[in-house]
């Protein structure tokens, strides 16, 4: 009998989908595998590839023992194909097919729509590894380096998850799409990644933390809505990916939190109460709170663009077809079809941002974005608690959704972070206060010095409150290969 909970290692690719009995897909994946390993090997600097990293490997989809921690060389990480267990008699949760049995095969009429969603999701996974490939060179600690690599290998596994779906359910064009996922490169002129935010480089660790907090959270929301899909293999894949995605949120939230913590500590130690005393604060080698606000403004707004147009027929079609649900669809209490409901979206009228009601079906993107904003605000509240605790008068805020947008109704219109439309001159004047300047970037870059001693942290960041896998403070999370 097939064991669908624990991972089987009887093929080169660990899996819980019975690959050894699915020769065709196994062969296709084994053909794809060398290209993947090659991609990985060329990506991250060689001495890190040779280092032993204390990583979590998913070994089961059973919560009791789903992961195992051990030292692994990254190229030997067991990337595998893991799907959450099949829910018996699962039905399509939303749209016009609501209540019908969930599809176990791709429904012909939605083939292209589904494939596109899977390819877009799949494209973001390797893209972020590419964006972060050089960060280990400036890791503020071995702990942070380990977290970076954990995020990286799991993004790699998420690519595998999508590639499995393409190979298994989409035949030849699925295989071609899978190959293209390795062909496109973040930031490449000829073959860039599909979404804009995934072609920007991640130049420093604060950007990395902001990225994992804000941009990976978009990924989480997308996974949440794909986990509701009527196409059962996609739903099961995404449900399991979410368990790993939570770690990425953790790295972002605590990374920014620890940066703030350190800034506040150093301010207090040196008797600085004014958070805007930027010169003195920077001279002490920590990142001033106004700059953290600017970084937040940047990453939050870039991430908002990933949700697409506020009013979208594509999104309506995907929901109506039962291909993609809403965040926590199963906990919502409406009719799950939205034929007669409305939803409030932003629009522009006479140069002013206004809210108006549109058919709910067309506002699926906006709704997911609202859920995202609510989710993202939670961590910002926690960060403010750290500042408050140190008795510093400063509050981080999410900027208005109209600010600094490239997609949607506010695209390329000039708004300030409060949501007020401003003139070109006002915008130019405000920008150095609202978004990081080159000088800000240079300052952050100047702090990015590696700190490779176990238990030691770069000056600009506080140590974590608890170790990974309950390890003590001086645990050697990465045994560096220094050849």
């Amino acid at each position: 009998m097939l064991d669908l909970i624990n991972v089987s290692y009887d093929t080169q690719i660990p899996n819980n989908v019975g690959l050894s009995q699915d020769k065709k897909v196994l062969k296709a994946l084994e053909k794809w595998h060398p290209g993947y390993i090659d991609w990985w090997n060329k990506l991250i600097p060689q001495n890190f590839q040779e280092s032993l990293v204390y990583l979590r490997t998913a070994v089961s989809v059973d919560p009791k023992g789903w992961a195992k921690f051990d030292y692994v060389k990254m190229p030997e990480y067991r990337w595998g194909v893991l799907l959450a267990p099949q829910v018996e008699d699962r039905v399509i949760p939303c749209g016009e097919h609501k209540g019908e049995p969930a599809w176990q095969e791709v429904p012909g009429e939605y083939r292209n729509l589904l494939k596109r969603l899977i390819v877009i999701q799949g494209d973001t996974e390797p893209a972020s590894v590419e964006q972060q490939r050089l960060l280990a060179l400036t890791a503020p600690s071995l702990y942070d380096m380990r977290n970076l690599f954990q995020v990286n290998v799991e993004e790699g596994r998420h690519l595998w998850a999508m590639v499995y779906l393409l190979h298994k359910y989409f035949g030849r064009d699925g295989r071609e799409e899978a190959d293209d996922l390795l062909r496109r490169q973040s930031g490449s002129e000829e073959a860039p990644r599909m979404l804009g935010a995934f072609n920007e480089e991640t130049p420093d660790w604060l950007s990395f933390f902001m990225f994992t907090y804000f941009t990976d959270r978009d990924g989480k929301m997308q996974l949440e809505s794909l986990a509701q899909s009527g196409f059962d293999p996609l739903s099961r894949t995404c449900r399991f990916m979410l368990t790993e995605e939570a770690h990425h949120m953790f790295v972002g939230e605590t990374g920014v939190g620890r940066t703030i913590q350190r800034t506040c500590e150093v301010m207090k130690e040196n008797g600085i109460d004014d958070p805007y005393d930027v010169g003195r604060i920077r001279a002490l080698g920590v990142i001033d709170l106004p700059l953290i606000q600017k970084k937040l403004n940047l990453h939050y707004t870039l991430s908002l663009d990933l949700f697409g147009q506020e009013v979208s027929t594509n999104a309506a079609n995907a929901f109506n077809a039962g291909i993609k649900g809403r965040y926590m669809e199963n906990r919502l209490t409406d009719d799950h079809q939205l034929q007669h409901d409305t939803y409030t979206v932003w629009d522009l009228e006479d140069g002013k941002a206004v809210q108006k009601e549109v058919p709910a079906l067309t506002a699926i993107n906006m709704r997911l974005r609202d859920d995202y904003t609510k989710d993202a605000a939670g961590g910002v509240g926690r960060w403010n608690k750290i500042i408050e605790k140190h008795g510093i008068d400063f509050e981080l805020k999410l900027p208005h959704e109209a600010f600094h947008r490239k997609i949607g109704v506010f695209a390329d219109k000039l708004f300030d972070p409060e949501g007020k439309m401003v003139s070109g001159a006002e915008y130019d004047k405000g920008m150095p206060e609202w978004l990081p300047t080159h000088a800000d970037g240079d300052f952050i870059q100047s702090l990015m010095k590696p700190c490779y001693e176990p238990g030691q942290y770069a000056r600009w960041i506080a140590p974590p409150k608890v170790g990974i896998d309950n390890k003590p403070g001086d645990f050697e999370y990465v045994k560096l290969h220094m050849a």
Partner: protein, 394 residues
């Protein structure tokens, strides 16, 4: 006063509200508002499903309380409350029951100060089942380990917990409650036994564990345990102990010294290492004393452990035609290797067995240390402070 209870709580300062625990909990014991994720003490069954899925470790927090914190209390928290003083208890406790804490403190006394767990040891679960709510286990095996003609009857007992969670680490003990009542008509108090199997079970991934129990003449509990038959059920408390634990670091070097059933935790250590790092070489050393080979528990299986995986040194004190050997003699014979371990910051020493062995072993260490120009008392205190010197004797 209510019986103290171990309450499962989430640290709001560390939690990132991903709700993975909430989705995982089979009892729907976890819920959240906009600020906090909280655990309903009346629903939590300690199944531990939520522990491994948490990305932050915030889920793995426990407080001993007489009155559980309500959901409203927990929603209002910015940080976890400190552990309240409950008579006799303090943080990092080995057990939540005064009598058992006292027993363990007595057993660990030989280390010369407050016992500390190895820095890299996994976090133990302690006192999940107390007298008020013992766990029930089924006996699935009872084998005699000593030769039939020996007057020493040492047994290997296997207990299975079925679907009941009973997370135990190598080096921890459990309590067994003998059947019947004492003269005053009260149920007997539990007796402590070291677990001799690794955390993933006597058989990997079975929810079972093994004990190594010697029949004591007139021993109420040892006779009860040694007479158990497959199919019998027993009342179990624990797990207990939070310091005599195995370091997770594969580079840690272990010197294990035992007599008789003191071998139980070391069987668990060795099996854990074999399952986790089967290709390690030269990191384990066992010094094992008994009267004769046929009275040495696990003599057969031990001989099969490759010498390069674990170097084994047996000391027999009543071997016919041989001079008497004690564990301290073996330590002196191996002074060079022991000396290396004493000077290695990753070296750990474990002593388990009868109290009587302590003095001789201590003398041997003193001599070996002196030979290296070291002060044993200082070295021992430092090692203990660093969680690298452990004694459990009775």
């Amino acid at each position: 006063m209510n019986q103290p209870l171990k309450q499962h709580l989430i640290d709001p300062e560390i939690c990132i509200r991903c709700y993975t625990c909430e989705m995982t909990c089979p009892e729907q014991a976890i819920e959240h508002d906009d600020m906090n994720v909280v655990v309903d003490a009346s629903k939590c069954k300690y199944c531990m499903d939520c522990i491994p899925v948490c990305p932050t470790g915030s889920i793995d927090n426990w407080r001993v309380v007489t009155q559980p914190y309500s959901l409203e209390d927990q929603y209002g928290w910015m940080e976890l409350p400190e552990q309240q003083e409950i008579a006799g208890d303090e943080g990092g406790l080995e057990a939540m029951d005064d009598a058992i804490s006292a027993l363990l403190a007595e057993a660990h006394k030989g280390a010369g100060g407050k016992a500390k767990a190895p820095a890299t040891a996994s976090k133990p679960t302690v006192s999940m089942y107390g007298l008020g709510r013992p766990a029930e286990a089924k006996v699935t095996g009872n084998f005699r380990l000593t030769a039939e003609d020996s007057d020493s009857d040492v047994r290997h007992i296997i207990l299975d917990f079925g679907s009941l969670p009973f997370p135990v680490l190598e080096g921890q003990s459990i309590g067994i409650i003998p059947l019947g009542t004492d003269e005053a008509g009260n149920p007997h108090l539990p007796r402590l036994y070291s677990v001799s199997s690794p955390r993933d079970g006597e058989r990997p991934n079975f929810n079972n564990l093994s004990l190594t129990v010697k029949r004591e003449e007139k021993g109420l509990c040892s006779n009860y345990v040694c007479d158990l038959k497959p199919g019998d059920t027993v009342q179990v408390t624990g797990p207990f102990g939070a310091t005599f634990l195995l370091p997770a670091d594969p580079d840690a070097k272990l010197l294990m010294i035992c007599t008789g059933t003191g071998s139980a935790p070391f069987r668990a250590f060795t099996m854990r290492r074999q399952r986790e790092y089967p290709s390690l070489k030269g990191s384990l050393m066992l010094v094992f004393g008994a009267r004769r080979p046929r009275e040495l528990p696990y003599f057969g299986p031990l001989k099969k452990v490759p010498e390069e995986f674990m170097s084994k040194h047996f000391a027999f004190s009543r071997q016919e035609g041989e001079p008497k050997h004690y564990v301290q003699d073996k330590l002196r014979e191996e002074a060079e290797k022991v000396g290396e371990l004493l000077q290695n910051p990753k070296g750990h020493i474990y002593i388990c067995g009868l109290k009587a062995m302590e003095q001789g072993v201590d003398e041997a260490f003193k001599d070996i240390a002196r030979g290296l120009g070291l002060n044993w008392a200082e070295l021992r205190d430092r090692m203990r402070e660093e969680g690298r010197y452990h004694v459990e004797t009775y």
